[in-house]
Amino acid sequence: MASAWPQRFGHGVAVRTISMAALVELMVLAASAVGATGLFSNDTPVSTPSIFTPASTPAFAIRHLSYFVLGICAVIFIVVSGLLTYCIIRFRRRPGDEGREPPQVYGSNQIELAWTVVPVLIVVIMFLATARYIFGIQRLPPSPSGLQATIIGNQWWWEIRYPDLGIVTANELHVPVSDPANPMPIFLTLQSADVIHSFWVPQLAGKMDVIPNKTNHVWFDAQTPGLYVGQCAEYCGVQHAGMLLRVVVHPRDEFAQWVAAQQAPAVDDPGVRGGRELFQSLACINCHTVRGTPANGLFGPDLTHLMSRATLAAGVVRNTPENLRAWIDHPDTLKPGALMPAMKLSPRDLDQLVAYLLTLH
């Protein structure tokens, strides 16, 4: 019968190249994996929120489980792709094979049973490990004492409240370091004011969604002081990308200082009285709170200690006088789509207002 196998060049070439490609892919994967896991993590800048450079018990636990799972999957990949590569090379058509069909093997009950049962066993093992970690991580840590904070997700910024300390701030979560001998876990209550967001700081914990009409909880215990970054991880509208998170972990005494500074009422600098009166006469106070003044709006971030924060607009720009001025004047240029309205002030009014805000340490 008609058999129109085209007589083309280089079946051998094809075979060699396929196997080379598989090998190269494996090597690329391996090399990149090593780099990404931060095995050489002395070079990893602290701002890279890698899940493989944890600093907190839940994140350590997840990394531990990940190594186990990655190990199993890596072995499976190497074995199976090795077998595939072997078969592709070994069983390619050779000259002289024309018109002869190889022995037709329809199956083998024993072999098929084996390669069904073995994966099931692997799955059972992985599931047991997984279940242990699911229940283990979500169980509360042994120490009953810890710090409570409430995170309220807004479009497109984070409201942070410390109910026990009487502090309200935005976008920067400050916590004390937790020494394993003397644990100080942080318990976060997560709520949303509008749509679904997700709280994710990879080095501290797995993410947890922030859902309206539902209260979620997540905890971590940061064991090394420093800055840990994250951001919203559930698409929440135009500026989902601009909803960054900074978690600042302080040594205990430094944290106490921070708390005291945040608990203090707003700085009342007489030199900027004009700016303060301007602020209180404008619509600013409908959205923003400055504790100790008539400004008590809840729609936007609390500005009482605005200048204690490193960034503006949920991490989009650094907190500098120029950026602050630009943010008030034309927020859409810095963060297109943000809900902060352009205040349309005259340059003189704007200068006064900014001068006032710059005193709010």
Binding site: M1, A2, W5, P6, H11, A14, E25, V28, S32, A36, T44, P45, S50, I51, F52, L65, V69, C73, I76, F77, V80, S81, L84, C87, R93, R94, R100, E101, V105, Y106, G107, S108, E112, T116, P119, V120, M126, T130, A131, I134, F135, Q138, V195, I196, S198, W200, A205, G206, K207, M208, I211, P212, N213, K214, V229, A233, Y235, V238, A241, P336
Partner: protein, 560 residues
């Protein structure tokens, strides 16, 4: 006979085979022939593939550098919404069901699908709903000048989709277009199930059908059960947006998570609906190019059914970070890991087919071999994500994006290309060029892997998905840049593919009935088949009727 024929079509009186363009177009528009409708589905799918691919290219251009301003966030958010929606509903679904349309009647030895007019109806619903979705770019302006294409993501979570947070009509375009196309898909699934269960030729018991037909039976059955829940949820969203209902209105006590349950109850099995026909293609092509019968037919068929059944119980692995509680989380982790078993078993059966064979490396086989490596990788990253605590870190990150692109491109698109190169000669009577095929293959393999391997690492380094830009100090730049470099390579590969198709249609080598020396019924008839498909049919006594005809001294039915 020029071109492709259709059943029940009557060319106008006059010069035979030289119909005026308008008359030929009219034939296609009014056709109810499964072969023509199948080709129309596939062509529509490939056109949308180019459009959605362009949307992806724009996104990767924006993401190549940190803090880039090539695209505004509004435009970027519309692009990823349209890209995902188009790829699932207007590329994956039409191509999968288009092949089903074309191949199933030929493979089971019958003349057409059970309900030819319903078939045409289903196609036109899909076609017009695709146009409706894209019309939003032009006319999505609703109130307040807000609008244009939808920007709520392809899974459109509530309450972002409520009137309060999505004013204007862009979300409504998304909603209605998918709703309408869903009805078309359900109609086609009813058609395929009825055809496969009731119209097989004499002797073709269910246990003798080609494995591809088994796969189409499973996915059509699944579609009947899982697509209506999406339609129901979308009707509920319609009620919320237009009638003041509160299905997903958290202000009235409604639940945002309920949308997720409904959506993913559809959404997860849907990706099996997309991928399992790809397994069907591989199960037909790998044996022919290994010159060996499929190893373990029964296990491959049974594993398809297992994937269908178990796969309907895994949906909440998309919701591990919603705060479901430890027990549901553990249960869904278990079911998700379990569904990996029948999937992995298939890879072993294909391996067993290749083992001991005499492999030929024509383009269909090249795509299938790359599929095996890539799908292995995809399946393993899927198993990792099934480990819920791992997913607590990597859900909604670029790791997931990399995983599902490995499944859908590395798995589905590669097997679709294999299928096109394999069955194009049957449908058109012409061979595609092997040289262009190889260029297409190698460029696409390189470009695809260059784009999607780095994205695993971006995810592991903390990069979430659906962000239009990212800060410069997070260590994500190099991975994003490399990923973008793979895009033009894939683009060139696709252009070469199109060139191949065009050149072959104009004057490719004649294919004959059976250019690959294959064994299923479609290779018995002419290329292209006549309107009625088969002039005569052999009595089917085994799974490879043509092997029996070609090897009368050693037929399959002595061994099965």
């Amino acid at each position: 006979m020029n071109g492709i024929s259709g059943t029940l079509d009557h060319p106008e009186e006059g010069a035979p085979g030289q119909l005026p363009v308008l008359a030929r177009l009219h034939e296609w528009v009014v056709t109810v022939d499964h072969k023509r409708l199948g080709i129309m589905y596939i062509v529509v799918g490939l056109v949308f593939l180019l459009v959605a691919g362009l949307e992806a290219a724009l996104m990767r251009w924006q993401l190549a550098f940190p803090e880039s301003t090539v695209l505004s966030p509004q435009v970027f958010n519309r692009l990823f919404t349209m890209h995902g929606t188009t790829m699932v509903f207007f590329v994956g679904v039409p191509i999968v069901f288009g092949f089903g349309n074309y191949l199933v009647p030929l493979m089971i030895g019958t003349r057409d699908l059970a309900f030819p007019r319903l078939n045409a109806f289903g196609f036109w619903l899909l076609f017009f709903s695709g146009l409706l979705l894209y019309f939003s770019y032009l006319a999505g302006d609703g109130l307040y000048g807000v609008g244009s294409a939808p920007d709520v993501g392809w899974f459109a979570y509530a309450p972002l989709t409520s009137r309060a947070f999505s004013p204007g009509n862009s979300t409504d375009y998304w909603n209605l277009a998918i709703l309408i196309s869903g009805f078309g898909t359900i109609a086609t699934s009813v058609n395929l199930v009825a055809t496969i269960l009731t119209m097989r030729c004499p002797g073709m018991a269910l246990g003798r059908m080609p494995l591809y037909v088994w796969m189409m039976l499973v996915v059509s059955g699944m579609t009947l059960i899982i697509l209506p829940p999406l339609s129901a949820a979308q009707i509920m969203l319609l009620f919320d947006r237009f009638l003041g209902a509160h299905f997903f209105d958290t202000q009235a006590g409604g639940s945002a998570v309920l949308w997720q349950h409904f959506f993913w109850f559809f959404g997860h099995p849907e990706v099996y609906v997309l991928m399992v026909p790809g397994f069907g293609f591989a199960s037909e092509i790998i044996p022919v190019f290994s010159r060996k019968v499929i190893f373990g037919y029964a296990l491959v068929a049974a594993s398809a059914v297992a994937i269908g059944v178990i796969g309907m119980g895994t949906w909440a692995h998309h919701m591990f970070v919603v705060g479901m509680g430890s027990t549901p989380t553990a249960l869904f982790a278990a079911s998700t890991m379990l569904v990996a078993v029948p999937t992995g078993v298939k890879i072993f059966n294909w391996l067993g087919t290749i083992y001991g064979g005499r492999l030929r490396f024509e383009t269909p086989m090249l795509f299938c071999l790359a599929f095996l490596f890539q799908f292995l990788c995809a399946g393993l990253t899927g198993v990792m994500l099934a480990v819920a605590p791992f997913d607590w870190q990597l859900s909604d990150s670029y790791f997931v994006v990399a995983h599902f692109h490995f499944v859908l491109i590395g798995g589905l698109v590669f097997t679709i290309f294999a299928a096109i190169y394999y069955w194009f000669p049957k449908a058109t009577g012409r061979m595609l060029s092997e040289t262009l095929g190889r260029w297409h293959f190698w460029l696409f393999v390189i470009g695809f892997n260059l784009t999607f391997i780095p994205l695993h690492f971006a995810g592991v380094l903390g990069m979430p998905r659906r962000i239009y830009t990212y800060p410069a100090d997070r260590g994500w730049e190099v991975w994003n840049l490399v990923a973008t470099l793979g895009v033009p390579i894939q683009g060139v590969a696709l252009l070469l593919f199109l060139l191949n198709v065009i050149l072959a249609l104009r004057g490719g080598k004649a294919a004959g009935n059976d250019p690959w020396d294959a064994w299923t019924l479609e290779w018995l008839t002419t290329s292209p088949p006549p309107d009625y498909n088969f002039e005569t049919l052999p009595e089917v006594r085994s799974r490879r009727p043509l092997w029996d005809l070609k090897h009368p001294n050693d037929p399959d039915w002595l061994h099965e």
